[in-house]
Amino acid sequence: EAGVAQSPRYKIIEKRQSVAFWCNPISGHATLYWYQQILGQGPKLLIQFQNNGVVDDSQLPKDRFSAERLKGVDSTLKIQPAKLEDSAVYLCASSFSGQLSYGYTFGSGTRLTVV
């Protein structure tokens, strides 16, 4: 099966600019996650979708971050305006809702550098 697709792979922007990341999960996976991984740290959940509804966005900085999952498939994560501390790898993952023991399938991530 095809994996989780993410784009772009790299992005460099200036602070206060906006940026968007795209994720296409594995077909049939109802649950989609966006994680932020700052250098030297473990991934931290930003938002979790179940189909096209938000399940958990408690760690999402809502004043600058937004995310949507249209039609329960693809998802977009946006940052506007970006700050220096947003420099990180943004990982998208998906899972089949009924298989908690199987972890997730991750994409290769987008490395964002804010200068």
Partner: protein
Amino acid sequence: AQTVTQSQPEMSVQEAETVTLSCTYDTSESDYYLFWYKQPPSRQMILVIRQEAYKQQNATENRFSVNFQKAAKSFSLKISDSQLGDAAMYFCAYRSGYTGTASKLTFGTGTRLQVTL
């Protein structure tokens, strides 16, 4: 809230030797899953091994095995016959056994494994 702790920022092992990576976690739940993920420079998180909390038998996957001590809330990863391709960041992760908002993975801070000749 659950927490996962990896106390070894870096580890080194010689090729063909065995290394153990440590992980402890804190939870009040009885139903959960534990995972070890590998993250090479390509950044993609790759599932190495998983353990169901209700199983007493330690999970094994080829050269990878775990030592799951439920009472001590410890979940270490043993890599046998280490290979150069094992060099990567390794993350321990916890997942609640309940669906909904609790189904997220909570990660530790990672251990960087170097494999030397």
